[in-house]
Symmetry: C2
């Protein structure tokens, strides 16, 4: 967080935040927080077309937020950046005005 943060690091951070800045992609992350899912399950959960969900996933993957693995006919996605999930919990608490115990914020 020093003033020496390079442009590249900042660009990487921004890519992650852009990837997270869409409600349907957050919905996907909620699903994945409960365990890995195949694309077909996510399509059902999000309620958009296959092509749209697939693009959402590719954006999350390019940002490094999720990872995928092909097994048999299906592709399974899982969260690759667990601190994202705890950060959202932290966000919600702050929004509610709760003074978050920082030790417990990112677990």
């Amino acid at each position: 967080m020093t003033s020496r943060t390079t442009r590249q690091v900042r660009a990487q951070r921004a890519e992650v935040f852009k990837a997270l800045g869409h409600e349907d992609r957050l919905r996907i992350l909620e699903d994945l927080a409960a365990g890995e899912r195949c694309v077909c399950e996510l399509v059902e959960s999000v309620g958009s077309s296959w092509s749209t969900v697939s693009r959402h996933l590719s954006i999350l993957k390019a940002a490094g937020v999720v990872a995928d693995e092909k097994r048999g006919l299906q592709v399974f996605y899982r969260i690759a950046l667990p601190c994202v999930v705890s950060f959202m919990t932290c966000l919600d608490a702050s929004r509610r005005g709760e003074a978050v115990e920082v030790r417990r914020c990112c677990a």
Copy 2:
């Protein structure tokens, strides 16, 4: 993070992430991480026009990421959501492949 996350909570989270999804706004946050700053200082640091920086700040403020206070002729901005700063540190570490000690992630 349960499946009972409401649409509203998800929308609030998305608003925060959208606000953070821009390199110049991340630059602003880096400046603010070192202490409060007036708009004039941020304009200098970011290198865009006053109107552009002002809009960046209003986006961050609407999302609850920063807060402002008018003192004398100037408006001072400061970070209102400290866990954002520690989350970025966490992100950087994950990106470098470092196994982050989650206890120390959000401090």
